[in-house]
């Protein structure tokens, strides 16, 4: 597989399928999802709630509870090693040490009965033999790195004594504890105020360039994507619908879903107009429509869409899309039209 050979590829998720089973009902959370994260790159997974973003992140850390979850197919290669085949001990060594995760809700993701210092210290001692003053020093340095004022005093605080933004900074400090090669951030700013969101995003950017780690950033917010991503994967109902460089995705979206998402963004150029919205809702993962899962909501849909599951098609330069309708109709005129949505630079 080319993923194994290419040294710059840190993480390669290949055809990953995850189901959740409850009695006779099978919810197909992920159906053959593939994506890659290269060294030093920021990759965004975008999609509506319930499209499988978080499940794919949990799968990378081997944190999908089985049962009810099951992983009938696919591979997750991290530095050439298939995570799905690792033993529990090997997974433990991986978690926090090589791949760390920042969760969505900093309040509930921190243990309420342990101090910040204990929780960060534990993230270090889980993988390294560090004790006493040295451990304390490292905790303080981590808190300083994530921009928490007077870090030495904060170590003795409990999570409930911190503000939302500070809690998320603590979560990030915990993730960075062992300098992992990959940090997965699962909607880390969703629960925060907009002003704090910006600070946390900037923090991620600085830390990334300082530590040279890769970032897999999961979000439903295209503004965040425009701000932080190198490459983007758009997910819908457990599949990747479109992928490409940030520029391609925003300037030349080739999938109706991506176009709908971009069109529904507020922007300066659209002042005074009613905002676009995609009709309908995300299908229940247990009862997905046949053919292209997006076709019931799609304005481009033709008869074929409800019959055939669409293949990933090349739009050139690593830009792939799962919509043959858009590609064939617009290829005829020999130009893929530039979308009239807002330019990502004015988001």
């Amino acid at each position: 597989m080319q993923g194994v050979l290419d040294k710059s590829i840190l993480l390669s998720v290949q055809e990953l399928t995850v189901n959740f089973r409850a009695e006779a009902i099978v919810a197909r959370a992920l159906e053959g999802v593939s994506y890659e994260v290269r060294q030093g790159e920021t990759v965004c997974l975008v999609g509506e709630s319930g499209c499988g973003k978080t499940v794919s992140a949990l799968a990378i850390l081997g944190l999908i509870p089985q049962p009810p979850g099951e992983i009938p197919g696919g591979r997750i290669l991290f530095m050439g090693q298939n995570i799905l085949e690792l033993s529990e001990e090997e997974l433990q060594n991986l978690r926090g040490n090589h791949i760390a995760m920042v969760f969505q809700e900093p309040m509930t993701s921190l243990n309420p009965v342990f101090t910040v210092g204990e929780q960060i210290g534990e993230a270090i001692t889980a993988h390294q033999k560090v004790e006493g003053d040295e451990l304390r020093e490292r905790c303080i340095r981590l808190l300083k790195d994530v921009g928490i004022p007077s870090p030495a005093e904060r170590l003795k605080d409990y999570p409930h004594q911190l503000s939302g933004g500070q809690r998320q900074r603590v979560m990030i400090a915990m993730a960075l504890a062992c300098s992992p090669q990959l940090v997965i951030a699962d909607e880390p700013t969703t629960a925060l105020d907009v002003t704090i969101q910006k600070q946390i995003l900037d923090l991620f950017k600085t830390l990334k360039s300082k530590k040279g780690m890769s970032l897999l950033y999961i979000t439903h917010d295209l503004n965040v994507v425009a701000n932080i991503a190198d490459r983007v994967y758009v997910m819908y109902a457990g599949i990747i619908t479109e992928q490409g460089k940030k520029r391609d995705i925003f300037q030349n979206p080739c999938h109706p879903y991506t176009r709908g998402l971009i069109a529904s963004l507020p922007a300066r150029s659209k002042r005074g107009e009613a905002l676009h919205s995609i009709p309908g809702t995300v299908p229940d993962p247990a009862y997905k429509p046949r053919g292209c899962p997006f076709h019931p909501r799609c304005t481009y849909a033709v008869k074929k869409c409800s019959e055939e599951f669409p293949e990933m098609l090349d739009c050139g330069d690593g830009h792939l899309s799962r919509c043959p309708v858009v590609l064939s109709s617009e290829r005829k005129t020999n130009t893929i039209r530039t979308h009239e949505g807002p330019h990502y630079s004015d988001l």
């Binding site: 991986l94 978690r95 926090g96 101090t115 993230a123 889980a126 993988h127 979560m171 915990m174």
Partner: protein, 319 residues
Amino acid sequence: MLSFIGRSVIQKLVTLFLVSIVSFLIIHIAPGEPSQVNPLNPKFTPEIVERFRKAFHLDKPLHVQYFYFYKDLLTGKTTSWKDNQSVLKKIWERFLNSLPLFIVGTLITWTISFPIGIRAAIARGGIYDRSTTFLAYLLISIPGFFFAYILIIFVVTRFHVPVIGMETFGLREATTIHMIMDRIWHLLLPSVLGATGGVAILSRYVRSQMLEVESQDYVRTAKAKGLPPEQVHYKHALRNALLPFVTMFGLILPGLIGGSVIIESIFSWPGMGRMAYEAILARDYPVILTVNFISAVLVLAGTFLSDLLYLMVDPRIRL
């Protein structure tokens, strides 16, 4: 902190006062008074009944009786109407009898329930979990006295475990070590039996509490850090799951005086529970009310204690 303690003590004193009134009234509302317990007894002539009523102030209005009773109680002079003994002395003797039963029973309950419940929660849905669930419901469903008789028949005939009283008759001459062993031997069946119901219920409670905590985000965070499962379960999850039991721990304090009427009756154990039960049958108001008062004090002390314990174990609670 000090203001919390002060406030709470005052609140509890007020509650205690109300409890004393209500329990006093309830006893007096109940039909039958001590002088009428046995009207067929030829000794109970009208004159004697009248004298009896006078001696125990039963002819006075209720608020005066209330005053007399609590004056006696607070000065420690309450005496039983049945045998004229000091109530506090009587209770103290019975309390000392009940204490070992209570301590051993509680120890068994709490030390066994937690490992069972925690393990069942961690290995949810497995054979261990399902069999403990089955056993727990079985033990909860069997009436205590029925289970006791099954146990007595089975254990006594096989292992000759004593089932009557606290010690063997006529063992006065034995050495201390023999006396102690004899006591423990007698304690075995009642305390195990007293604990079974507790273990069945408490272990269920521990299991559900633990399951609830295991699904929390911070447990997932702990796993994502790469901590070994023991630390995830026994440090991060357990520490949170234990919080509600701190409250329960304060509330076992009243069990000190309540005793267990059923167990003590089955095993002829001369304990508190039986004494209170007999006092109720004999309308021995001073004994009933004193036991009632002491258990009210213990309940209030128990809630106060659990408030303080909560303060110590949960950093989110500050005064």
